[in-house]
């Protein structure tokens, strides 16, 4: 297709005219789309690619282009994950290409005043000018203090840098800045627990092939997200095969409707989980005792300092009841490890970790929990007993000729549990439920997204925590991370904290100030608990550049917009790490086959937009940093032999440091390094994907490779981290309440080695806010991905046929108390903000909770009037410290609210 300048000018003229009209970006009558039809030529092409309309993104697709017009997108039947299927989001992506609210060419602002409701006065500029401007600004920072360059990547539709130039931080590292902060982080802090207990990432997954009892707490198992890449199919398979699905949730979701719904008060998962642990230990006394003894650190003796008591060998000790003495944990003569009691080790009184663990749970009876979480005590007991009974403790199973323990029960959690001020503790505790029944990495049990040989045994015989759970060993003050990584070493990415600090870095004695902010595929305003805070933070940066697909909040506040392709137009690669809800689908061989490197053949762009990785390379080139980029790629290529890994490029594929390569060439060399000469770019263009590895079914279970490592039941690494960090923090002399939103003593409670209940700000809200507001996932609206809130098909169908869409859902009891009728416009107001929308009265809500489903609502009008008026859950939240979980940085995503008629 021929792109003519006329088309852009047309598009452009419309934009500035609209700007003059106060950002009501309406351009009726203007040819909003580049001319589609080439005179006389009929041409039909099918392009293989992959879908990225959700974060899971493991679906391959085939795009049909007819005379330059995309007329069809469907699943690629040749790929094992989605098998030719696509979900509604993946199907609807065609409309993204033709979204009139797109940024159609590079733009620069002419109005120096910035604000969400201030007309930026956009003027179209050439790519040359845009790139030069950006490169000059970045070079200035680079020459002065590169730490003042801030990079905000995101999850959004074209999460290119995450899968592209190095997982979100290659660019800032090349520039020399430690300051990258993924904008979605505060809503995505689901990794800490799985990093610590399973040493896996990003999530813990179930095993739908063998699981018979799935306890889903605050999480979906694939169906709620209608993932096409096998998870929806897998959950249905499991249910057909008799798996019991128990959903603990304030809302009866699609999954809860397929299984059994246990309504729970939002934000009270911690007491619920603690009570389950209590029942198992104190009432049932039934758990996988062999596993707890041999495969966890439970028998390790703990000294008065709360750490492992060590012997002469410096190894953790276990009390052997057979010989009445302490031995190294790996002493082959060890016969009967003590799990209870108190022993004398040298001058010290020591106890098995298990004792401490068990004692910590003593008071958490179902009755106690029931008052807090509203789940009846009897139901808690029933769930605990079903969970343990279903685990078939002692049973084994043969997979591919290998005998594994068979534990067909699992408890899974996700954002519904983690995104609370006590979410770290609740999430980790939920993992301990699994550890107790010994289901870790065995068929039917709990797994991590990364398959196969992953587990690294540390010198203490315990699995080395990965990623975000790695114990903290360094502290610098004043901090140099705007997101206060120094104070939150386990944070996922606390973007709202970063925004808060960027506004007044001097408050935390920071020596640097933000100078250049680059945003790519993220939106620090929209997903900030406090949009005003996000707006202020972005406006506080003298130069802001964003890669933008459409005129969203961050585009609105930018100085330069680098116009970005839509998903279908982005020829790019992705390192698909595997399914996040379930390892298996029920189809034999699935787990070991579905992980792949994906490639998308691009549909020619209709506007003057570009693929972002190429643009980044171009900027680095103009900054004179190409050699640094190439050096970085040479050392750590685009991916490694396993997901989330990297290897150096093979010698014969090494980049010449002074030559400029394209993004595709970099991938080409990476793939050839890993898979061999014939598996480069050409192969990918033709096939669309290449399997990351080929594991047999037994090999996909990590315990096949390592069935000796111990998992933490006693959270020693967490404690170790706290022991290092907390004194350092106190030394700064800062006041916890003022600088961190909580006292340092309260912070210390998050670093305990055993689970403990804590009261949080959520529970202490003023009484008038009598309800708990949550958000719930809709099939076509979550995570702010894929511009689904502007997609006309999605909007139209959901408004007509989905009663939950763009609504405020309340139980009839709430409706009656306030005399609401279905469809009334009501307001939900929290201590921090309010939103309004039409009420949907539904029995599927907990009577003390309301839900604002989907990721809707905008703070700008430049994406259409309709979009800006949608009901916005985030408006109810608070994005400042004190409402962020102090460990993983997750925002408290339950808000206490009151409701009334508008």
């Amino acid at each position: 297709m021929q792109i003519t300048r006329r088309n852009f000018l047309k598009g452009m003229g419309a934009v500035s005219a609209a700007g003059a009209l106060g950002m009501a970006l309406n351009f009726p009558g203007v040819n909003t789309f580049a001319s589609a039809q080439e005179a006389g030529v009929t041409e039909k092409k099918e392009l293989k690619g992959f879908c990225l309309m959700c974060k899971h993104s493991g679906c391959c697709n085939i795009v049909t282009v007819e005379n330059g017009v995309v007329v069809n997108v469907e699943g690629d039947p040749d790929y094992v994950t989605n098998q030719g299927t696509l979900c509604a989001r993946g199907k609807s992506t065609i409309m993204n290409r033709y979204n009139p609210y797109r940024v159609k060419a590079p733009m620069k602002r002419t109005n120096p005043e910035k604000g969400l409701v201030v007309d930026p006065g956009w003027v179209e500029i050439s790519w040359d000018e845009a790139l030069d401007t950006v490169a000059t600004k970045m070079r200035e920072v680079y020459d002065n203090d590169p730490r003042e360059f801030i990079y905000f990547p995101g999850f959004a539709m074209s999460e290119f840098t995450m899968y592209g130039l190095g997982r979100g931080n290659r660019l800032p590292r090349i520039v020399g800045s430690p300051n990258d902060s993924s904008t979605k982080g505060q809503f995505c802090c689901i990794h800490y627990g799985v990093n610590m207990i399973l040493a896996n990432t990003p999530t813990a997954t179930a095993d739908y092939r063998f699981c018979k009892y799935l306890l889903a707490i605050g999480r979906g198992g694939g169906v709620n997200g209608s993932y096409a890449q096998g998870e929806s199919r897998g959950l249905i398979y499991a249910l057909e095969n008799g798996m019991r699905l128990v959903c603990v949730d304030p809302h009866c979701s699609t999954e809860a409707s397929l299984g059994e719904w246990v309504p729970i008060l939002p934000g009270s998962d911690l007491p619920f989980i603690l009570a389950l642990l209590h029942v198992i230990l104190y009432e049932l006394d039934k758990y996988d005792k062999d596993f707890v003894r041999d495969r966890t650190n439970a028998p390790y003796l703990i000294g008065s300092d709360g750490d492992y008591a060590r012997g002469a060998s410096n190894k953790p000790q276990i009390w052997d009841l057979a010989e009445h003495k302490a031995k190294d944990f790996d002493d082959p003569t060890l016969i009967n490890p003590a799990m209870q009691g108190e022993y004398q080790l040298k001058e010290e009184k020591v106890k098995p970790a298990f004792m401490l663990f068990k004692e910590s749970l003593k008071d958490y009876t179902p009755e106690w929990a029931s008052e807090k979480c509203t789940v009846p005590a009897a139901a808690i007991r029933q769930i605990a007993s079903d969970f343990v009974a279903s685990a078939q403790i002692g049973n084994t199973i043969v997979v591919d000729g290998h005998t594994f323990p068979y534990r067909p029960a699992a408890a899974i959690t996700s954002r519904g549990v983690t995104n609370h001020l006590d979410g770290d503790i609740a999430d980790v505790s939920s993992k301990l439920l699994n550890v107790l029944i010994g289901n870790i990495y065995v068929p039917g049990g709990l797994h991590g997204t990364k398959l196969g040989d992953n587990l690294i045994t540390d010198p203490d015989g315990v699995v080395t925590p990965s990623g975000e759970a790695t114990p903290c060993t360094s502290f610098t003050y004043p901090p140099e991370h705007f997101d206060l990584l120094e104070f939150m070493p386990h944070r996922h990415s606390s973007n709202t904290v970063a925004c808060q600090v960027m506004i007044e870095p001097e408050k935390w004695n920071m020596e640097i100030k933000p100078k250049v902010l680059m945003v790519a595929g993220g939106n620090p305003i929209l997903v900030n608990g406090s949009p005003k805070q996000g707006e202020k933070a972005v406006c506080s940066v003298p130069f802001v550049v964003s890669f933008s697909y459409h005129y969203d909040e961050i585009a609105q506040l930018s100085d330069v917009i680098l116009a970005e392709n839509c998903m279908l137009e982005n020829g790019t690669f992705m390192d698909y790490m595997g399914n996040e809800c379930s390892l298996t689908t029920g189809e034999p061989g699935f787990p070991g086959k579905h992980v792949a490197r994906l490639y998308r053949n691009a549909v020619p762009a209709i506007h003057n937009t570009r693929e972002a990785n190429e643009t980044i390379i171009e900027i680095l080139d103009r900054m004179g940093l190409i050699s640094k980029l190439n050096e970085s790629i040479n050392k750590a290529a685009m991916c490694g032999p396993r997901p989330f890994s990297s290897i150096p490029l093979a010698d014969k594929y090494k980049l010449d440091l002074n030559k400029r390569y394209t993004y595709e060439e970099m991938w080409d060399r990476t793939l050839k390094t890993i898979y061999g000469e014939e598996y480069g770019l050409d192969y990918m263009k033709k096939h669309g994907h290449i399997r990351t590895y080929n594991l047999s079914d037994k090999e996909s279970y990590s315990s096949y490779y390592n069935n000796t490592v111990r998992h933490q039941l006693y959270l020693q690494t967490q404690k170790r981290s706290g022991d290092f960090l907390l004194p350092k923090i106190k030394e700064t002399g800062l006041d916890g309440e003022e600088y961190f939103g909580m006292s340092w003593d309260d912070l210390a409670k998050h670093y305990l080695p055993v689970p403990e209940y804590i009261e949080t700000n959520l529970h202490n809200a003023p009484e008038e806010y009598d309800l708990y507001a949550i958000t719930i996932r809709l099939h076509m609206s979550f995570f702010r991905l894929g511009s689904l809130d502007q997609n006309p098909w999605v909007l139209d169908w959901n408004n007509r046929y989905n009663p939950f869409y763009n609504s405020i859902c309340v139980n009839p009891i709430v409706a009656e108390a306030h005399a609401f009728k279905e469809g009334d416009i009501i307001v939900a107001e929290s201590q921090f903000g309010k939103t309004q929308g039409k009420v949907h009265i539904t029995e599927t809500m907990h009577p003390r909770a309301i839900a604002i489903p989907g990721a809707l609502g905008r703070y700008v009008k430049s994406l259409g009037e309709k979009t800006s008026r949608q009901t916005c859950f985030n408006a109810l939240l608070n994005g400042s410290l004190g409402y962020c979980n102090p460990i993983h940085g997750g925002l408290e995503t339950t808000a206490r609210v009151k409701v009334y008629k508008a």
Binding site: N799, R800, Y801, N802, P803, Y805, S807, K821, E822, G823, K838, H840, T842
Partner: protein, 379 residues
């Protein structure tokens, strides 16, 4: 009576009618152009005002021509033949704006699917209008042969006409609001009532209301009332889904119209007739009753679009349900639909006004009828 004056009044009426007709045609053109919001018809209310008007004109045509054909010569047969025939034409015209592709309407006549009940309508209405015209020619030109022929054919086709339409509705599967066989009786009774009303009004204008006409109108009003009571009673005593549409008429969004129909269209005229007061008002009200009955009948079929699966269904576009079953939103014709509907009426009035003075020798147009009504009102 000043002929000149009434002549000029008549042409004023003609002009007004022409204007209304033009406005109607304009509104129709907007609809044909597919402008959003021009009609309130939807997939859940595919039929509305136009079909109601068709049913009304059809009833008027059938009833009036039946009487005109069979009546004795002391009745205003010619006037009735004109009014009946024009109504038939109006029925046909009322359908046109309902068609999405009116230019292909010839297919109804020349390439029909003969197993579709709608084709009965086409045939019977066509026959009725043709024989209506023959009757007019016969009566006005004193051509006995034509009159006699029509006298034989018209009573048959004017009965078949509403029957055919009734079958069209009652045989649609799963349309619980239409499927009751009772509706066949209602169609016939309505046609009879409409015809009698015309006669009654004409006699009233001529100030020679035959006692028997008045009694017959009253009788058919009461028959209609009985049918309504019958339907309501059956609905109230039944718990099935078939009863829901009628129940919805009693309480739902259409309730004001329903009660308007019962009170204004049936009870008040009955009382007036029983007390022998304001016969013309009673006649006009009864006719209005027929219009509303037809409208309610049309909408009734689509109140519960989902049938059984409508139970506990939630479709925000459609709003709330009744007794657990999802209902379609209340259909009210749009402004454009009203304009088109009024245009059809205007066409009818225009035709009558043009035809009557020509076929009868004296200057009897609608103008005279109105004048007469006024006089009676004054009296």
């Amino acid at each position: 009576m000043n002929t000149k004056k009434s002549g000029s009044k008549s042409s004023i009426i003609n002009i007004v009618c022409l204007v209304l007709l033009a406005v109607g045609i304009f509104a129709w053109s907007r609809e044909l152009a597919g402008n959003p919001g021009t009609t309130n018809l939807s997939e859940y209310a595919p039929w509305g005002l136009y079909i109601a008007l068709f049913l009304f004109f059809e009833a008027l045509c059938a009833g009036t021509l039946f009487i005109a054909a069979l009546g004795s010569n002391n009745l205003p047969r010619l006037k009735m033949a004109v009014i009946g025939t024009v109504s038939g034409v109006c029925a046909g015209i009322a359908i046109l704006p309902d068609l999405g592709s009116p230019l292909t309407v010839w297919r109804l006549l020349f390439a029909p699917n003969t197993s579709a009940p709608m084709i009965l309508d086409v045939w019977f209405l066509g026959l009725t209008v043709v024989f209506g015209i023959l009757l007019i020619l016969g009566l006005s030109g004193n051509k006995e042969g034509l009159t006699r022929l029509s006298r034989i054919v018209l009573p048959i086709v004017t009965i078949l006409l509403p029957l055919g339409t009734a079958w069209l509705f009652t045989t649609l599967p799963g349309k619980v609001g239409w499927s009751s066989s009772l509706e066949i009786g209602v169609f016939i009774a309505q046609a009879a009532l409409a015809g009698l009303c015309v006669l009654f009004i004409l006699q009233g204008i001529a100030k020679n209301v035959a006692n028997i006409t008045s009694k017959l109108v009253l009788a058919f009003l009461l028959i209609n009332l009985a049918l309504i009571i019958g339907e309501v009673g059956q609905a109230l005593y039944s718990s099935g889904i078939e009863a829901l549409p009628t129940k919805a008429l009693l309480r739902g969004g259409f309730a004001p119209i329903f009660w308007c129909q019962v009170i204004l269209g049936v009870i008040i005229p009955s009382i007036l007739l029983a007390m022998n007061k304001s016969p013309l008002i009673a006649g006009v009200l009864s006719l209005l009753g027929v219009v509303i009955t037809k409208y309610l009948f049309v909408v009734k079929g689509n109140i519960y679009p989902f049938l059984n699966i409508g139970e506990s269904l939630v479709v925000p576009e459609l709003g709330a349900g009744n007794e657990g079953y999802l209902m379609a939103p209340t259909y009210v014709p749009s402004g454009f639909e009203w304009l088109v509907g009024i245009g059809v009426f205007a066409l009818g009035v225009l035709l009558i006004n043009l035809l009557l003075p020509r076929v009868t020798n004296k200057q009897v147009g609608v103008i005279n009828i109105i004048q007469d009504i006024n006089q009676i009102g004054v009296n």
